[in-house]
Symmetry: C2
Subunit: 353 residues, 2 copies
């Protein structure tokens, strides 16, 4: 994907969603505007607080539009209740900006379940999609990224939901990773056919019915997410969220161990100084913040979820993801993919009818 | 835990279980016997193949006893079918050695489901335990290990099963980690009370009913497994297995990135040379092989499952785990713990009766 200095995307931002907001959001916007000075930012949140933080960033104060609201959705709120009480919250107002064409994408570090519930009601799903999913991009050992679907939107799924995730993941990987035939796998606790729950085995049977429409790799285990053997890993939102957070936690653990090992002796400290520049790029590679910004696929609009605990740097990456997805016209292309999938499916079924 | 040079443990070994067996097993035994020369090894498998490999290890040939069988359980076999056809297989014979008191523990790199099914039938479960579980030990950022229960024995669980896992994990951590009040957490997709499936919420209610008997921390997300905030993470076997393999895969990914970064320039290569010794100990720390050997808890006997893909070094660690568990009389102590738990529970309930 290509970043363009003159990109004109309009991003609606819920600046009251995350643990460190509005500070993190505004710091992230500041970083982003240095790269993309033509991007328009619509900020939804408490005007007084926003202006207070903006004092630290005088250069961007006149580049953002503030839409005042004091109400926000708490991270502790149940999605159904959050949805019911969402009127005039910063999150809902930001999503509505996309619906009304005032913004091309929305970014929030808020309550994931609520963001999904409100987005679904306000933006509606794409044709033929019943339940939207979260796609998280994760680095692999081969250097290529992998798309994990669903990374946490649907804690409970059925076979059809997993099938839809596979189709959306396929479309996403074709567009975002620029692949002709993304390799699709189902996450399981073994790669042999007999392994796993009945639910997983039935989902695999359903995927196999799609025949040549999907480049089905089979099952992968947890380590298969990051080993580069596949491009899309399909799973339910509970397992996907656990896997994603486990990857982040383990990467932090490894980084910590490595940093410790450089402080052990005068030799290792010297070694660090010599290898510093390449090590820094490695620390960056495994820093989960660089992968912040998961897309909600299956909605009539680009919705990017940033980590609840995102800091400015992480929020910057989430904004980048949103701009990237807007630039690549992701939803038009997913719809196109889904349509052609439907048409091919109909053609393929015809002879046996 | 203390390793003793003169430990007299007798270990029954299924030498036909793993992908690299019998080579990996025998290489692992060779490494182990250098540390524990008094350990007795009972080898179950194809005598001809074993003797062929043993030619490379002349020093240990007279230290192992071979029990010949040509039949083995395939890693592709469904547990129920494997159990039915398990008679005279290397795995079953090794487990039976524990049942008959000929060995103190059994180690196998074979089919996890089959190892659990056969162990359950041959050894039976401990009193009050319905479904045994796999406990995997994982390193954390604070340097202390964490016990993940269940790491893959029971793909489908109910609230009571998770409760039993918590009690067994509690006992395991008290004994193996030497903790008075291990901090117990339930794996979830959020730490707030409203997060997760109905199943997880009900399991949490059940755990809360145990009152002060468990030092209940609440929920952790995937990154909470390795952040050192808790000592025991309870989850179903599907999620636990995915999390464990994801940790392994991510650690490999990070190791790979770091190794790459040292080969980037002459400076980073020099840096590596200087920091080599402390880096090596870090690579070892994050090498999943050092954590090979997961215990099956809840059985009348010590059963250690080694990775299917274990090499000699990894199998060596699995053997160490088995010796360690035998030395610490793990099962006597778990039974004691479970009994006192039962008794305290009865006492606690009495006043309200």
């Amino acid at each position: 994907m290509i970043f363009k200095k003159n990109t004109k995307a309009k991003i609606a931002i819920d600046v009251m969603g995350g643990d460190n907001d509005p500070e993190a959001c505004i710091d992230g916007i500041n970083r982003m505007l240095k790269l993309f000075p033509a991007v328009e930012c619509l900020l939804y949140g408490d005007e007084r607080k926003i202006k207070e933080v903006l004092q630290k960033y005088p250069k961007i104060s006149n580049k953002v539009k503030i839409f005042h609201t004091e109400s926000k959705i708490s991270s502790r709120e149940k999605p159904s209740i959050a949805l019911r009480n969402s009127k005039n919250t910063s999150m809902r107002m930001a999503i509505e900006a996309v619906k009304h064409g005032e913004a091309d994408a929305v970014v929030s570090s808020g309550n994931t379940g609520a963001l999904m519930a409100v987005s679904r009601v306000v933006l509606r799903t794409l044709p033929n999609i019943n339940r939207p999913a979260i796609v998280a991009m994760v680095p692999t050992i081969k250097g290529t990224p992998v798309a994990l679907v669903d990374a946490g939107a649907n804690a409970e799924c059925n076979e059809q939901t997993l099938f839809d995730f596979a189709v959306m993941g396929d479309a996403f990987a074709k567009i975002v990773f620029n692949l002709e035939k993304p390799r699709i796998a189902l996450l399981n606790i073994g790669i042999e056919e007999v392994k796993g729950t009945e639910f997983i085995k039935n989902a695999m049977l359903k995927l196999k019915e799609a025949g040549g429409l999907l480049n089905l790799h089979g099952y992968v285990e947890g380590d298969g997410i990051v080993d580069g053997s596949v491009d899309v890993v399909v799973t339910d939102g509970f397992t996907g969220n656990v896997a994603l957070k486990t990857i982040e936690g383990t990467a932090k653990l490894c980084e910590h161990y490595f940093k410790m090992s450089f402080s052990k002796s005068i030799f290792s400290k010297l070694g660090y100084l010599l290898a510093r520049s390449s090590l820094k790029s490695t620390f960056k590679k495994i820093d989960y913040k660089s992968y912040n910004g998961a897309m909600f696929v299956g909605l009539n609009g680009v919705v990017v979820k940033s980590h609840g605990s995102a800091d400015g740097k992480a929020f910057f990456y989430a904004l980048n993801t949103a701009i990237d997805l807007v630039e690549s016209k992701i939803n038009d292309k997913i719809t196109e993919e889904l349509n052609s999938f439907e048409q091919i499916a109909k053609r393929e079924i015809k002879p046996t009818e």
